[in-house]
Point group: C2
Chain length 207, copies 2
DNA sequence: CTGAATACTTACCAATCGGTAAGGCGTCAA
DNA sequence: TTGACGCCTTACCGATTGGTAAGTATTCAG
């Protein structure tokens, strides 16, 4: 089977442009023509590679899910203590707000949009990630006997504290100005650290 | 000046239908024709009342901002202790996830979308609300000397913990099933309470 | 009874949406 | 050289988008 050289390059270029545009404008707001024109091509070139807008979107999401899984692996392999693993993982997630803000934005959009656009409801790109978080916190001392629901509730609060802030950066910057936002960004990590510690030290059994 | 009777009724009906649809599908995903057909009218009737889709969206957001302000007033008037005021306010916000989930969803969407659709960037529907939160936490013992940035960082973590969970309900329900979600929903409030207490007891000065 | 204003309609518009059909062009195996 | 395939194009499709123009129906002040 002959393989053309620039094919995979174009594909990943499409995926990156699509990630940016879906993140900025959402699934409905981003058109395939606009994504294609970002790399100087027509929308039919995009269709040729991905078949449909929905499939392109699916691949974008799968890509993010994979990267999320890689972050979990990284955090777990770096530390041995369950508490530190979780702290490290949440710290890495917090850092992506700088490097790949589109990633968190897109995950949040998927959270909001997957209801009406749920024909392919079988694919839960985030489920394995959440399950990893649940498994992680249940290995923290005091959390062993917690139920999945309790573990998910706790972990989701910390995730929300991080992600909600991550998607708010442009709004907060323009609402309060850059210099104020910088003080927020400095004050955030230590506060977050304290919040994580407080959460881990308060398993539901000790309520 | 003559006044027609059913005018305001139709207007609020439009606003409510628009709130639901914008919440479900986003600004681009919801069409004015679809919103109008929800009350058996044509899109031109909507245009007649609101002028344009953008203005309709603006009124929807303004309405939510007003309701948010009313919640702040309610929490402050119910309690006298600053800590309890804040706890009460966050508790009320958490409760809206049941009564008016569209509200939190729409606020989050605005957070995500206002960058590309920011021609009327002068209107910050959420700024007064956030300022109220900042002022509130700065009256909590130990927080008086905190900067605005530190106060916003702390408050935004709690807000994120609540709102991120609020927008995730449909996804979590279908991802884990109704019975598991119910255990999450039961475990959430006490954990949240502990998180709020931990945050208030850890002002940035004592880091 | 008359005139104006409100509420809403049908008819229409250009622009854009996602997607199909068909063909041009270059590369490479046979 | 030839044929097939991958990459990408122009041309086109019906459906839908937000919005304008013009008119109808109803109501109400004078």
């Amino acid at each position: 089977m002959p393989k053309a050289r620039p094919s995979s390059d174009t594909r990943t270029a499409f995926l990156e442009a699509a990630t940016t545009q879906f993140s900025d404008k959402g699934f409905y707001g981003a058109s395939i023509a606009s994504i294609a024109s970002d790399l100087g091509l027509t929308k039919q070139a995009l269709i040729h590679h991905f078949g449909s807008k929905e499939q392109l979107y699916g691949e974008v999401l799968q890509r993010i899910a994979d990267q999320l899984g890689a972050v979990v692996v990284e955090a777990v392999s770096e530390e041995s203590d369950p508490s530190r693993q979780l702290e490290r993982l949440l710290g890495l997630l917090f850092d992506t707000r700088r490097v790949r803000p589109e990633q968190t934005v897109l995950i949040t959009r998927e959270l909001l949009d997957n209801r009406p656009r749920a024909q392919k409801a079988g694919t839960w790109y985030l489920k394995s990630f959440l399950n990893a978080l649940i498994a992680l916190i249940k290995r923290v001392p005091g959390w062993e006997s917690a139920s999945d629901g309790q573990a998910l509730a706790a972990v989701y609060q910390l995730l929300g504290a991080i992600n909600y802030y991550a998607i708010s950066e442009p709004t907060l910057t323009r609402m309060f100005g850059k210099q104020v936002y910088r003080t927020v960004d400095e004050a955030f990590p230590p506060q977050l650290q304290a919040l994580i510690a407080a959460c881990l030290e308060n398993p539901p059994s000790a309520r």
